[in-house]
């Protein structure tokens, strides 16, 4: 007599089929399920989405002009009527400026990671796959950039290029290329000796298609997670450069420069002064938590 317990051992085709159907779940579904299990990561993602979408929709949400203020209403405290987050030193609505400013701050956080992610991965994959003299030239050249403290290199480049968000993005991209390339290179080196690469080679695949179909597929998740952790660093770095006056020119809003403009008011209205920084901090923190969750979901070891 077959009881439920012995079902494990039965090898009739129908049971095998049943078991397979039960376990069928695509990798992406599994990753999403694992990610949503982590409550902090999930909540952070929602907070990020709220910040991103409200900054994008700034013209719809904001009720004031980001550049024009009423000088009579300057430095209103947080929670004032009509100005939930108060007003700045020129009487402009803080919430409006935070929303408009966030567009540039977030752009300056994400764009360098995209640029450096593409260029750095390309250099690292080429160096790791071909090895030899190509590897030496690429990696030793990039090593020089490690001799600079990141923030100083970024300051030097963006000061030389002149004021502007675009130049900040270029500067931070240059700072991020070497570490991305290093990660890509070491990941590719690990994959290069695998048997499936050898199999692809012996079946006549050329370098381009091996890199495209085998190498990139195998190193992508590691690079992707690494790049997401860099977004928060990039955001803080960009706001730092902007804080030094290398970003947008006044009166345009951006979180870093807003913090700099308000820093003199710390003795008059301390709570108001820290608001732009609070947004930088919350966004960076949320990005870090999301990328931690992603790393766990993708099961990547540091």
């Amino acid at each position: 007599m077959i009881t439920e317990n012995t079902e494990h051992y039965s090898t009739t085709p129908t049971t095998i089929l049943k078991r397979k159907v039960k376990k069928e779940e695509s990798t992406s579904q599994k990753i999403i399920r694992e990610f949503c299990k982590k409550r902090t990561a999930f909540v952070s993602l929602i907070i990020l989405l709220i910040i991103f979408s409200s900054c994008l929709l700034a013209p719809v949400i904001a009720q004031y002009d980001p550049l024009e203020g009423d000088i009579k209403d300057r430095l209103l405290v947080v929670g004032s009527e009509g100005h939930i987050l108060g007003t700045d030193e020129q009487g402009r609505d803080m919430l409006t400026r935070i929303l408009y400013g966030g567009r540039l701050s977030l752009l300056a956080g994400i764009a360098p990671v995209l640029v450096a992610g593409l260029i750095g991965s390309f250099l690292g994959i080429v160096a790791g796959y071909f090895g030899g003299i190509i590897n030496t030239i690429i990696m030793r050249t990039l090593d020089i950039f490690y001799a600079f403290p990141a923030i100083l290199l970024a300051i030097g480049i963006s000061a030389a290029l002149g004021q502007g968000i675009n130049n900040i993005i270029i500067a931070i991209s240059i700072v991020f290329i070497p570490p991305v390339a290093r990660i890509a290179e070491s990941a590719v080196k690990g994959v290069r000796e695998e048997e499936f690469i050898e199999a692809a080679k012996s079946s006549g695949a050329n370098n381009f298609s091996i890199i495209r179909y085998h190498i990139i597929m195998n190193v992508f998740s590691r690079l992707f997670v690494y790049c997401t952790t860099q977004i928060s660093i990039s955001l803080v770095l960009a706001s730092g450069l902007s804080f030094l006056g290398l970003g947008v020119s006044p009166p345009n809003p951006e979180w870093g420069i807003m913090l700099n403009n308000l820093k003199q008011q710390i003795f008059i209205n301390p709570l108001l002064t820290i608001i732009p920084g609070l947004f930088i901090f919350i966004t960076a923190l949320a990005i870090n938590l999301v990328s931690d969750g992603l790393r766990d979901a993708l099961e990547i070891k540091e």
Binding site: T141, D143, I144, F145, A147, F148, P149, A150, I151, L152, L153, I155, G156, I157, A159, A160, L161, G162, S232, I233, V236, S239, G240, F243, L244, G245, L246, L259, K263, I266, F267, P270, L271, T273, I274, G277, L278, I280, F281, A284, L285, I287, N288, L289
Partner: protein, 303 residues
């Protein structure tokens, strides 16, 4: 190390080359003749080729001549070295704060993962890497200068001025602000490496032999020193770099303040020399860390 330093000098030199605008134009009156242009160009050495310019710039720099500040009309070298000592004081204070506290919190939370200190360590590890240090500086001023009135927010007089007590009072808040990120990174790292070590066979053997917890702690510390050194060496760069931003908040008379003024006045020789000198120091510090590695870790010495 020499190739790295040469590479650094090339990059810093190239930074000057991408500055938009012709430096000759800014020095000449609008009605200057072509002859004047050539004369100024020759004086500045701009008539040479790019490689020639690089070598004459490198020669001057090696002799400690960083050129003249465009705005202040002063030798950059003089400005820089006063500022450098102040930045060192700040980075040193931040290093003591971050290294000591991370060691205590990291080791303690590895031993007692359920304690409140371990939770504090978690929070520090998480916030430390996300917090912009210039913002942390403002919050500290808001709490300790504005609300409590305990600490001065500005007015650091620099080396030799005001005495040690005065300097320390001025140092507390900037040092915490600068050291915060390092504290977060190091706490995380020390905890995880101590947790790993505590599960190693030799620690279990020690426990089985009945060694005191102090002796076990000494074994743990000795074995995680190389890891800590590597990260600490890299963090020194962040500490000096981070002070650039924090100095502007506290009006700390260091290299960061100098670079900040250089940016707002478009005084490029100052920015360039500041970046160059700090980067060279960073390279030297990392070399010292490598040497220290060999001193504390016999495995590296014998390899």
């Amino acid at each position: 190390m020499i190739p790295t330093l040469l590479g650094v000098s090339i990059i810093v030199f190239l930074m000057l080359q991408i500055v938009p605008g012709d430096p000759v134009n800014s020095l000449l009156p609008p009605d200057a003749t072509e002859e004047d242009r050539q004369r100024i160009k020759q004086e500045l050495g701009l008539d040479k080729s790019l490689i020639g310019q690089y070598f004459s710039w490198l020669g001057n720099t090696l002799q400690g001549d960083f050129g003249r500040s465009i705005i202040k009309r002063l030798e950059v070298t003089d400005l820089l070295f006063d500022a450098l000592s102040n930045t060192f004081i700040l980075a040193f204070g931040a290093a003591i704060f971050a290294f000591l506290l991370s060691l205590i919190i990291g080791v303690y939370s590895a031993y007692h993962p359920k304690s409140w200190i371990a939770s504090l360590g978690n929070i520090i590890g998480l916030t430390g890497v996300s917090i912009p240090n210039f913002w942390a500086a403002l919050i500290l001023i808001g709490i300790f200068s504005v609300m409590l009135g305990w600490l001065p927010s500005t007015g650091m007089k620099g080396v030799g001025g005001g005495g040690i007590g005065d300097t320390v009072m001025h140092l507390i808040m900037p040092a915490i602000a600068v050291g915060m990120t390092t504290l977060g990174v190091m706490t995380r790292m020390i905890r995880s490496s101590v947790v790993d070590l505590l599960q190693k066979d030799f620690i279990i053997t020690l426990q089985a032999k009945g060694a005191s917890s102090f002796i076990i702690l000494m074994h743990v510390l000795k074995n995680c020193t190389p890891t800590i050194l590597t990260v600490a060496g890299l963090q020194v760069g962040y500490l000096i770099g981070g002070s650039v931003l924090v100095e502007t908040v506290f009006s700390w008379p260091g290299v960061g303040q100098l670079i900040y003024q250089g940016i707002s006045q478009r005084d490029f020789p100052i920015i360039q020399s500041g970046v160059l000198v700090i980067s060279i120091l960073f390279v030297i510090i990392n070399l010292v860390v490598d040497i220290l590695h060999a001193v504390v870790d016999p495995r590296i010495r014998e390899a």
